[in-house]
Symmetry: C2
Subunit: 916 residues, 2 copies
């Protein structure tokens, strides 16, 4: 190999041609000022990380711990490794997103130059092309840069594109050419923290701009240009310590979190370095990062010993030889000495990367083999349709996807992780800290007869929030279903107390004659899957013999009137039994949703009809008041996502509802489907009348707010929206902000008092081991406060009573007028679309929905189907901009699909099931 | 005020008398070498923190950030504040537990001297006594100390007591005298990390010794000596950064965790300081510490801005003026300038302290007002008996107690937080990190049709562990009760499939005639509180009309034979129906527990008797095989803590069991109690025969391992102990190591296949929103691995199949022979004692137990009562030494009590309830 030794040229403002053998060039492009706030994230494509080659972040436990030396060492190791083989060379990219002290300091330039120096010395058999580029710099910094200084006149603020590239080529003996691409994304002049430099130089950059720019760089670096896949590598070196602020002030560990790239932590070998390294490691873990190795310079203090003990040998701890402090030392000897360490590091990075990719690829098969998913017919879930979720970031899933390439890409979790999800990115980070804290402070501590801060604070917040004005007691349990079981026990006791049954029982010690308790409930309601909760539901395929032979259905189930948006207007649909009544048109059409909820409707004729209907139904119950009692009213205030399906094959014509999932099987198999799908919001007037009727009969009222509670419908409690209060209410799902299971049954003092006595046997003898567990209560405390504070939840209207409108009213109305859409309900964080059926064929809507959802997942929206209903569900903090974007995408796809003929839709959906 | 100006005297080895007005003294005591490993924690009194005055830790985000300056500033502020009032002066204590670089560096000497200097300048109206003492130093360090150098001859290793005190007195104009007590606990010579210095100087100190020494210092410092309570303060300055190792190598943030003192974090105002400060803060939070303020020296970088933003203004961030770098500067001006900042800090510390104490005092009342505890008759829980749990540390609660003084003190959580608790201190810290990581990486992501690492890994570990050899599928839910509901649904389907019922149903689409499914279960078993789980239990006060009118009791309930230790021997008790059979003495007495579990018993006559009994019971069921089916066998393999109570007042004579809590009311009220309490371990042979009988009849077998699973009984799954496998098994409680709710129902492939089909309606349509939640699965992954790894669980026998014997067999036998004890069961992590009753009066045992438990709580053991049974439950990692200590204390108290006459016991217990 022949090689020309070069000296580095610091300043060169024209093309400089060198020999054919090696060259050092500096390109110049047009530089321009960019508007730092011009880019907005909502319209940008979802974040994506290419998995075809290793990409790592280089983190520092502090500033000045040698991140750049480590970057250089890794690069040298990778390039050497490939240059000694004939496998076509390497493309190694080094990205420095944020550089301060620029241009006098430039880590990308250091890596570029140091590697040139190393390889000129090494004389590897393959050739190389090394380059270094600084993309943008503050005007203050650009002035001092070759190619930056002449473009003045715009004042000393803002950022300027530099786009000058230093390049060095060496032709080797072998064909393979190794590439080193060094890039600095943004440079600032002052050698201080980026946020400070950006501020002082009037050249700030929004987080979204940094991320998009990094995304672009990553894309560029992933293009191997014919290189062996094993030869492509990218590393990204952060600035300062792990929690040093980026240009906007956002901590870097938070800033880069959407990519969640695996990392190398450069530790501190000095005095105090153990502490700094461990804390930095913990800050990374506390943001969901994986750290694959810790490496640091030896300072003779054996810092590796406590570090290895702390890491329990799970993460390798590597020690580099001491770095000569003499500035004139070119470190060539040091790099030689460090070679083995960097080689080991590279191997670790490579094997961790390969194992990760292998695991991601294997996961769908393994999941299909050993999981038993709830509500899932496994035979209908081919391996290819299983979603591998690598992580979540705020409202987005990061999913593993193999299409043309293998990537981790973002999808908006429009199922709100099955109706529980609440946190945005910031709240997720806060909750992670709180979960760590609660586990460390309390772990779990038993509840009965004890008190601890998170449980007490949570109870206080509940009584001051969703229970305000009526509730006095908090009974904690684990999920919605157990909360309902407890509520029923409470209600029956209260009823027994109020109606003299308890007194009789206490006098005689036995129940004089068999008493049958029933609940008053609504057809199509869902309250959970444990037997007690099931019994409060009307019969359906979900409660039949196939599921639980013990189910009897101990309720009087009413048909509720429903409301919805159709052709741009709110409309009312009443059950058949009411349709003979004379209902005034005024009573069934509404100018707005507010009118629908207005208390003035209480005095309408419709209210009277409702009341009559309810009374009639109650009096039709045989033995009522003697052998049979309606022991409780149970209902979901506000909306229930129901759907009605009649499947002639099993002769069940009933409502069913709840977290019941795509009846894809119905579409898929050759069942004749006769019913119609539907999604219903119960008329609030009907619910109010129902409560009133029960009150007058001393029937305890249970509100099942498991789904509706905590801003799901735009208000903290749906009871608030209805304008009436229950005796008992159940909350779960969003209660913890959507991170871990916890539920609570709130009750009035009267309910509580019906359990009082001097015998333990009078007490409510129900409990679960993790009752009021500290972590759940801690999460609830954070979430309850976060959601209602206008400082943390920008969706909160100033008075703190309801969320801003998240779904653009105009657009919702437009969608409700679309020919493919039967009706829409948009309320709070939910927007549900019922797709048209062909005649009474719900199958059509279902097939149609399946195809739609398939397309929307490609668009980065993870949605699921409820019969012929598709829905978008966001968190209480999700920006209306994002909601709008989601809705627009749905609208676009709807439009696209309505162009296709039904037969096409059918075949498309069919294909999806069989050839995903 | 008159004052003599003094110069500091560095070296003084005799008493030095100064004027009456001021004195500087140096006491000398006998110095001696101490054995650094002589102290062992198990025998030491529980950790205790006095709440009568503020005690704070001073943490540093790094070494050299000015912790000592902050300590000095706080001390100056507190002393100034009191010296300007007439309220009798202050006692301010400064403790430096660990000092390296000693004696040339001594932070306590610095604080002592600097404060002397400040107050000599300030001339406060009150007098002062300032002192500084170094308690122990390594011999290497002691040689250089006044008072240390002459005592040579023992070689340059080990620690030496110094006990020399520097003291300075100034008499003021006012009566009040302010005291400053400075103490260094341990000093090493080399200016490196304490663990390194200790190692190099051959003078290591165990963690327990540091903690005991600190406890002693704290006690000394708390004695105000007549000082106004508001005037007593203690601060403890750590060494280096928050995660710097202590003398043994344990990180300081872990080392001091048992005290969980609130802290001040001294941040870093320099470049990179934001990151270091935030990470240090996070490391403290991740160990359950509360940080009440962050303070740092200004470096002109405005580090407070991002810090305040990060802390969301919840924790004050204070900025000190730049510290002059000139070594000749005595900082007097700097302290003057900083005065306001320190004053504010002091006020913050004081108000946070007062609020905390106030809150702790208020908690019992508030809890009683708004909680609704499970299994609790609130009327029987007076405010004074409510336990305020401030935190937990491994197996210990830190509880708030007000007796002669107000303290936070440790109690061993012998209820294993209601049978869930597993982690020791180390695992708790690991789980906290993992919980933070899981929340940050995943929060919660929906499960059906998806896969993510923690769920997959957890499923793999379950099938390879507790499900090994039989289970193929994992169905996740939230708690034991839901796991049982799911198991029942699985079993009924499997039964229908195996017995042609499903085929009939599918052919006809209806059930031809009403089919009644029953379960085969054991009297006295408990499986949960949701209706389905209740139905599988025999009738009891816990299932009666008062609790859930819907309960019918759909089972055939058998009376199981039980085994126990009595008078030092394992013994068998058979149910009445078997007592007519001829049972050989050989079959009912056992030389050891192993004999009891031996498979050779399968061929005994007793096994035949069991088999006959079971068959007889089955055939007695009316309509069996036609209208009625036994759809499942459900039982807890191994031990069930049952107790039998007959309460004539409500005419219920039945077994009941489970997390049913002290029937204190029964003792308390004037109910005539006729039954006998008992705690039962089911004969393993009986359970094996039962399984065999069901197998032969194709009745699916459910093992309820919610309580017994994961080493509770000494093996990972109790099935293993029985030597037979189920078709379905339920796990919860210890599954997550005992930190958050998660449960799983495991099933064989045959069970899974009975849900297969091409219709979704054939699938198991049961699910909960948080199914397989990422945090729960993450905790489970850690716990499952931790418990069975001999490297992390020292109780694990090398082959990893069972735990070491935790309860000393000798001592258990002794206790079982005690006249007050009827029988004992000791197995795995459980040791239960059934107390003697007077004839059939369980009330006596109950009263007796109540008194015992009261005494044992004073001894630092938090126990609860199950009728007349008291039990100790530890975690799978709890040291046998600790178990032994607990058992010994119980034995001691038993002995003490058996001295007292029954009437005395009775009145004592009575008193406890009414005058706690």
């Amino acid at each position: 190999m022949s090689l020309t030794l070069l000296t580095f040229i610091r300043s060169l403002n024209h093309h400089h041609h060198l020999s054919k053998l090696s060259s050092l060039r500096l390109h110049r492009y047009i530089s321009s000022n960019t508007n730092p706030t011009s880019s907005s994230s909502p319209t940008s494509p979802p974040f994506e990380v290419n998995l075809s080659h290793p990409i790592y972040m280089i983190w520092g436990s502090n500033t000045g711990v040698g991140k750049t030396l480590v970057s250089t060492g890794i690069a040298a190791s990778v390039i050497s490794q490939s240059s000694t083989t004939t496998s076509g060379g390497t493309k190694f990219s080094y990205i420095k997103p944020v550089q301060t002290g620029f241009p006098s300091d430039s880590d990308s330039r250091y890596v570029y130059r140091k590697l040139s120096e190393i390889f000129i010395r090494k004389k590897p058999p393959s050739g190389f092309v090394f380059s270094n580029q600084v993309i943008k710099a503050s005007n203050a910094a650009a002035e001092h840069v070759v190619g930056g200084e002449t473009e003045g006149g715009i004042g000393n603020v803002g950022l300027r594109e530099l786009c000058s590239v230093e390049e060095r080529r060496i032709v080797g003996e072998l064909d393979g050419v190794s590439e080193l691409v060094c890039k600095t994304m943004f440079g600032w002049k002052e050698a201080v923290s980026p946020h400070l430099a950006a501020e002082r130089e009037g050249a700030s950059v929004e987080d979204s701009v940094v991320l998009e720019s990094l995304q672009k760089c990553l894309k560029f670096c992933s293009r191997g240009g014919g290189k062996d896949e094993n030869g492509v590598w990218t590393i990204i070196e952060t600035a300062g310590g792990v929690a040093s602020p980026g240009p906007s002030g956002t901590l870097q560990c938070d800033l880069y979190r959407p990519f969640r790239l695996p990392g190398i932590l450069v530790g501190d070998g000095g005095l105090g370095g153990i502490s700094g390294t461990i804390s930095a490691y913990e800050s990374l873990k506390l943001r969901g990062y994986d750290v694959v190795a810790v490496i640091f310079e030896d300072n003779g203090l054996n810092n590796e010993v406590p570090l290895m003990s702390y890491l329990r040998n799970r993460v390798p701890v590597l020690v580099l030889p001491p770095v000569p402090r003499d500035h004139s030392n070119n470190l060539m000897e040091w790099f030689d000495e460090s070679q083995n360490v960097f080689f080991f590091l590279m191997k670790t990075m490579l094997s961790t990367y390969s194992e990760r990719v292998q695991r991601l690829q294997d996961m769908p098969r393994k999941a299909g083999d050993i999981f038993w998913w709830p509500f899932t017919q496994h035979g209908l879930v081919p391996e290819e349709t299983v979603t591998v979720i690598d992580s979540r970031c705020g409202e987005n899933f990061a999913v593993h996807k193999v299409t043309s390439s293998e990537v981790i890409t973002h999808q908006f979790d429009a199922c709100a992780s099955w109706w529980t999800q609440g946190p945005d990115t910031t709240l997720q980070a806060e909750l992670a800290r709180d979960m760590g804290y609660a586990a460390a402070r309390f772990g779990h501590v038993m509840f009965p007869e004890n008190v601890y801060e998170p449980a007490l604070r949570c109870a206080e917040l509940l009584l001051d929030g969703v229970g305000r004005g009526w509730a006095s007691r908090t009974f904690f349990s684990d999920n919605g279903s157990t909360a309902i079981e407890i509520a029923l026990k409470m209600a029956f006791r209260k009823f027994s107390f109020d109606h003299g049954i308890l007194l009789d029982f206490q006098k005689e010690n036995i129940v004089k004659q068999p008493i049958e308790f029933k609940v008053l409930a609504l057809h199509g309601s869902y309250h959970g899957d444990t037997l007690g909760a099931m019994e409060a539901q009307a019969p359906s395929p979900f409660t039949g013999f196939l599921q639980q032979p013990w189910y009897r259905g101990r309720g009087l189930f009413l048909d509720p009137p429903t409301v919805f948006i159709c052709n741009g207007h709110w409309d009312l649909s009443t059950p058949k039994v009411l349709q003979s009544d004379i209902i005034k048109p005024n009573d069934t059409a509404f100018r707005s949703r507010d009118e629908l909820f207005s208390g003035s409707r209480d005095y309408s004729d419709l209210a009277k009809s409702y009341s009559t209907y309810i009374s009639r139904q109650l009096s039709s119950l045989p033995g009522l008041g003697t052998s049979t009692h309606i022991g409780a009213l149970i209902m979901e205030p506000g909306m229930a996502l129901n759907f009605l399906v009649a499947i002639n094959q099993i002769h069940i014509v009933e409502y069913f509802t709840g977290p019941m999932e795509p009846l894809l099987n119905i579409c898929h198999k050759s069942v004749v489907i006769q019913g119609a799908g539907g999604m219903h919001m119960i008329d609030p007037l009907f619910q109010r009348v129902l409560v009133k009727e029960c009150r007058s009969r001393k029937i305890p009222v249970i509100f099942d707010e498991v789904f509706t509670g905590f801003w799901r419908l735009g208000v903290e409690s749906a009871a608030e929206m209805l304008g009436c209060v229950p005796d008992i209410a159940c909350f779960a799902k969003l209660l913890t902000g959507g991170v871990i299971p916890l539920s609570v049954t709130l009750a009035t003092n009267d309910v509580f008092n019906s359990f009082k006595g001097d015998s333990k046997l009078m007490a409510l003898l129900h409990g679960h081991s993790y009752s009021a567990h500290a972590m759940g209560c801690t999460a609830a405390v954070k979430a309850i406060q976060w959601f209602k504070d206008p400082l943390t939840n920008l969706n909160m209207a100033a008075e703190g009573r309801h969320l801003k409108e998240l779904w653009d009213v105009e657009l919702v109305n437009q969608i409700s007028s679309h020919p493919s859409v039967q009706r829409v309900v948009a309320l709070g964080t939910v927007c549900a679309l019922e797709l048209c059926t062909e005649g009474s064929d719900v199958g059509y809507g279902c097939l149609y929905g399946t195809s739609l959802i398939r397309k929307l997942r490609e668009d980065g929206i993870y949605m699921r189907l409820l019969g012929n209903v598709i829905y978008l569900m966001c968190g209480p903090c999700t920006s209306p901009l994002v909601c709008n974007q989601l809705l627009n995408k749905v609208y676009e796809r709807l439009h696209e699909f309505s162009q296709a003929k039904p037969t096409e839709v059918r075949s498309l959906a069919f294909m999806y099931r069989f050839d995903p």
